[in-house]
């Protein structure tokens, strides 16, 4: 009996060796996941206006001012097993629909591979008037709109972390800027440069920072609603600020503001050339006020 043991052990080892050497057993073959690059661009042929609808489901997003000869350009690296690129342009309305849409509907799909992150870069014309409608899913976004001709802006984020900059004054007058944040972290920097007449923010859960610094060219109205989370307001000292607050279970620290009932005003509100009227509604969370020079 004991003589058979080495033979059996050798047979077992040989079987395991065969199993390990089998190409079909390679996990790499099963776990094959393909990244692809997709680029879409359009030359500028005298267009003066562009409506951009970007729907980006997941990944990292960068938005920047583009080259003078391009109306727009999007470069995306995506997982072709889970997403498909979207690009369409309607010439009569001047509307470009861009982005990355998830494939399929129901059923089990392998989880996204963290080692193969999706990347997208969108360059926008620095000369055409832009109406931007950005819908971001599970996205880490870095959006720079400074120096562009933004006439309207709508940003809707899901479970994302997005930083939006107006590093330079908007080259066009912006009628409205709307931010809708889900379970997300949203930071908007330089709203004073946005030149938007009306700004609205609606936050679900998470944290949001609205920075109103920049070169103010006109007064503005802001309506902000935060359901659950923390809202930080960075207010420039040079602008007269009036804040109307409607809160439920929220804390509010009116640093530097004088309370008049449910209204808070900065000392220079009556005399300031540019005024910022804020209407805040919060349910659960906190509102912080920070002053910037």
């Amino acid at each position: 009996m004991s003589a058979r043991r080495p033979a059996r052990a050798a047979a077992a080892l040989a079987l395991l060796g065969l199993a390990s050497a089998s190409p079909a057993a390679r996990p790499a073959a099963l776990a094959a996941q393909t990244l692809r690059t997709f680029t879409v661009a359009r030359q500028l042929h005298g267009e003066t206006r562009l409506v951009t609808r970007l729907d980006y489901a997941a990944g990292t997003l960068r938005v920047r001012p583009g080259a003078a000869g391009d109306l727009y350009r999007m470069e995306v690296t995506y997982d072709e097993q889970r997403f498909r690129p979207v690009s369409a342009y309607d010439a009569p309305s001047g509307t470009a629909t861009l982005g990355l849409a998830p494939l399929g509907g129901s059923g089990l799909r392998p989880p996204a591979d963290p080692t193969t992150p999706q990347l997208a870069r969108l360059d926008l014309s620095p000369t055409a008037d832009l109406a931007l409608d950005l819908t971001l899913g599970a996205v880490e976004g870095d959006i720079e709109l400074g120096g562009l001709h933004v006439t309207s802006l709508a940003v809707s984020t899901g479970a994302s972390r997005t930083v939006l900059h107006f590093s330079a004054p908007n080259a066009a007058r912006c009628s409205s800027a709307t931010f809708n944040s889900g379970a997300a972290e949203l930071v908007v920097v330089g709203l004073g440069n946005s030149r938007c007449d009306a700004i609205s923010f609606e936050g679900g859960m998470g944290r949001a920072t609205l920075d109103f610094s920049g070169a103010w060219s006109a007064s503005a109205r802001v309506a902000a609603r935060m359901r659950v989370g923390e809202l930080t307001l960075r207010l420039p000292r040079s602008v007269g600020v009036r804040l109307t607050l409607d809160k439920f279970l929220s804390t509010f620290r009116p640093a530097g503001l004088t309370a008049r009932g449910t209204t808070y005003e900065s000392a220079n509100y009556a005399t300031a050339a540019r005024r910022l009227d804020l209407a805040l509604t919060t349910a659960v969370g906190s509102i912080k006020v920070e002053w910037v020079d």
């Binding site: 395991l16 199993a19 390990s20 079909a24 057993a25 390679r26 996990p27 790499a28 073959a29 099963l30 776990a31 094959a32 996941q33 393909t34 990244l35 692809r36 690059t37 997709f38 680029t39 879409v40 661009a41 359009r42 030359q43 042929h45 960068r62 080259a67 000869g69 391009d70 350009r73 470069e75 995306v76 690296t77 072709e80 498909r84 690129p85 690009s87 369409a88 342009y89 591979d113 080692t115 193969t116 990347l119 997208a120 870069r121």
Partner: protein, 503 residues
């Protein structure tokens, strides 16, 4: 202006590095063979240079004609790429070189270099290697027909056109409604005008003239030269759109070739490396458990043996106790916290209580697991002792044997966990067995109060076992009494009867 291959900067993956090194080695080898011919060598220099430097530096090096600098740069680039290789990359490189695989990027760069050498943009485009330039005949009824009127779904279009890349040139057939299809490189001269969509397969489309319609290239580049006009969309599938100054009124789209096709090529740890890592992890855990167990043998052998005996003699009871103990672990903790919070002293004691509770739980689980190993080893060793295979035994031997058995499953998972299905099954078995025995050990630790109570350890000897009286006493049951001499032969009633008739 380039519309393709200008994606966001990404870290170079192992597969890309391997391909770069492979391409460089191949090119350098070819150039060494052609070194005797100055013209070819110059071409090679330009070709290899284009793989490692930008166009600007290539132009500068070519203008200077400094061959030594170029060679040093090539060697340095090669050394740099080789230094970044990992073991998995080497495997990829060997596999690629063996298969003679050359990816689309290398081919494209080769064509770029060839076109750069050609210099004159008006010269005929270089022939696509291996593909004779020709018109593609229309497909017959039921054959492949692609409508190039709208190019909004490039991935869909590519999936339909993909078979054309695998067929021999003589068998390629496709119908383009209202347009035409070409195989191999195609050139539309400056004085030519073409109406309708154009499909170019396995070749570059050099547009100098006017194209009224969409342009699609598959496995090739779309090159729009200065003065050229394309009144439609341009789509390059597995290629690039190179706008050198022409006018394109429609969309410019590029769908690149897949960057990676397998997990190993996208920087994923190879199976061998993962297995080694897991084996090291399991070995580390084994050594840790062995160290703890030997410490327990030295400093708490009595407790360990009592828990071990509890497992041996009350396995089912220990399992049930462990199961209930696991279920009550969190509620008990909650009750403890709530109870302590109700008083000021309790609040002060709360941090200590939390730490002690956690510590006791860990001791119970880990100690119980080690006791399971001890019990397994003891059982096995006693069997060998009974057979005469062994002459000595001690707790340390029990423990190490048991731990070896317990970790055997995890070792199997570490070595073969990457095998599809079987690996998952091994892992599942290891988890279940570990949980089962851990539960038993935890229960035994609870039952024996961490080895302080021997009630369930089978060590309580019944009083009658303390004497040897049972060796000689008349058995009270099971042995028939001897019949008295002269007694009636027929047996009477077993049950004594009480009544006047007996009298």
């Amino acid at each position: 202006m380039r519309a393709g291959n200008a994606g966001p900067a990404r870290p170079r993956s192992g597969g890309v590095r391997a391909r770069r090194v492979g391409a460089l080695l191949t090119t350098l080898a070819a150039c060494s063979l052609l070194a005797a011919r100055p013209a070819d060598a110059a071409s090679c220099r330009s070709t290899t240079h284009s793989r490692t430097t930008t166009d600007a530096t290539t132009a500068a090096a070519d203008a200077g004609g400094n061959r030594l600098t170029s060679t040093v740069h090539e060697v340095w680039s090669l050394v740099s790429d080789v230094s970044e290789l990992r073991p998995g990359d080497v495997v990829t490189l060997v596999r690629q070189m063996r298969a003679g695989a050359r990816d689309a990027r290398v081919a494209r760069e080769g064509r770029q270099a060839a076109s750069r050498v050609a210099a004159d943009s008006q010269a005929p485009a270089a022939a696509h290697p291996g593909v004779p330039a020709q018109a593609i005949p229309p497909a017959g009824p039921g054959g492949l027909t692609v409508d190039l009127g709208t190019l909004d779904r490039p991935t869909l279009l590519e999936s339909r056109l993909r078979p054309l890349t695998e067929l021999p040139a003589s068998e390629v057939r496709v119908t383009v409604p209202g347009g035409e299809a070409r195989l191999g490189d195609f050139r539309l001269a400056a004085d030519q005008t073409l109406a309708g969509p154009l499909l170019v397969v396995r070749g570059d489309a050099d547009i100098y003239g006017r194209l009224h319609g969409n342009l699609v290239t598959l496995n090739g580049d779309a090159i729009v030269h200065p003065g050229a006009v394309v009144t439609g969309d341009v789509l390059a599938l597995r290629g690039e759109v190179r706008d050198l100054g022409g006018e394109i009124t429609g969309e410019i789209r590029t769908l690149g070739a897949p960057l990676t096709t397998a997990g190993a090529e996208r920087g994923e740890t190879p199976a061998g490396t993962r297995a080694l890592g897991r084996i090291a992890g399991v070995l580390g855990l084994f050594l840790t458990a062995a160290a703890l167990g030997l410490g327990l043998v030295v400093f708490g052998r009595r407790n360990l043996e009592i828990v071990s005996d509890t497992i041996t003699h009350s396995f089912g009871r220990a399992f049930l106790t462990g199961l209930v103990g696991q279920l009550l672990l969190v509620p008990t903790f909650g009750m403890l916290v709530v109870g302590l919070v109700l008083s000021v002293v309790g609040i002060l004691l709360l941090p200590f209580a939390i730490v002690i509770y956690g510590l006791l739980a860990v001791i119970g689980i880990v100690g119980g697991y080690l006791a399971v190993a001890h019990a397994m080893g003891e059982t096995y060793t006693r069997r060998r002792l009974a057979r005469g295979d062994l002459t000595t035994a001690n707790s340390a031997r029990y423990l190490m044997l048991g731990l070896g058995a317990l970790f055997a499953l995890w070792a199997a998972w570490a070595a073969f966990g990457w095998v599809p299905v079987a690996g998952d099954l091994i892992q599942l078995a290891a988890v279940l067995v570990t949980w089962l025995l851990g539960t038993v050990g935890f229960g035994a630790a609870l039952l024996s109060r961490a080895g302080l109570r021997e009630q369930f350890a089978g060590r309580l000897i019944p009083p009658e076992a303390l004497t040897d009286e049972y060796l000689w006493a008349t058995p009270q049951f099971g042995v028939p009494a001897v019949r008295r001499p002269g007694a009636p032969t027929t047996p009477g009633a077993r049950t004594p009867t009480h009544g006047p008739e007996r009298r």
